[in-house]
């Protein structure tokens, strides 16, 4: 299982703050998980569309599409940050 967190506008658009997901065979990176979530369709496909420039973190470090995801990891998706 992996833990997936959603923040800010992405949490609102998907209606989900956190979930646990079994990591299917063959899914081993951030892009793989994004594809999995997009396949849910509807609000998920829309919120995670390419144009939304969604950012990701693996175990609380900023990550790229090809960053590895392993069982037990904490994955987070969020819009570009706007602090400060």
């Amino acid at each position: 299982m992996i833990k997936v967190l959603y923040f800010a506008g992405l949490r609102e658009a998907t209606g989900c703050a956190a979930e646990s997901l079994p990591l299917p065979d063959g899914v081993a990176d951030v892009q793989g998980v994004i594809d999995l979530l997009r396949a849910r369709g509807g609000a998920w496909a829309e919120a995670l569309a390419e144009a939304k420039r969604v950012r990701a973190a693996v175990n609380q470090d900023l990550a790229q599409g090809q960053s590895a995801v392993r069982d037990g990891d904490e994955l987070a998706f969020f819009p570009p940050v706007t602090g400060g």
């Binding site: 800010a8 506008g9 420039r53 819009p79 570009p80 940050v81 706007t82 602090g83 400060g84």
Partner: protein, 153 residues
Amino acid sequence: MMSVRVQHEDFDVGREIAQLRQGNPQIGAVASFVGVVRDLNEGSAVATMTLEHYPGMTEKAVGKIIDEAKGRWQVYDALVIHRIGTLAPLDQIVLVVVSSAHRGDAFAACEFIMDYLKTQAPFWKKEETPGGARWVEARASDDEAAQRWQQKS
């Protein structure tokens, strides 16, 4: 030394600087930056804004930014305080304080930390405007401000 604090409460800049300097006669310069809530953004009046963050990652990300600053400039101590929750125009949002032997290092490290915080620390702002609530969009100018520092190294 470094510290990162994420809090709802306001902060007292004078007190924070005094604490950072306390008992260290090697410090010759302290640079600080205070970010404040404006009443106008993207052409709309802002009544209040609410800041959220990613607990755990925030502290880790800002800690890494401070470490990076310490690798580039001579820095004794650095402090970052970032507020979360609901804030109104005039409220303080963020404080960065850097102490060093000389002003050049203190100024540069302070600006670097702030530029990187804007693009890498997981905070998000939602504004209440007359047209309703809206998430603040990231600015290209913030990315450019952070990229300046990459060209130097």
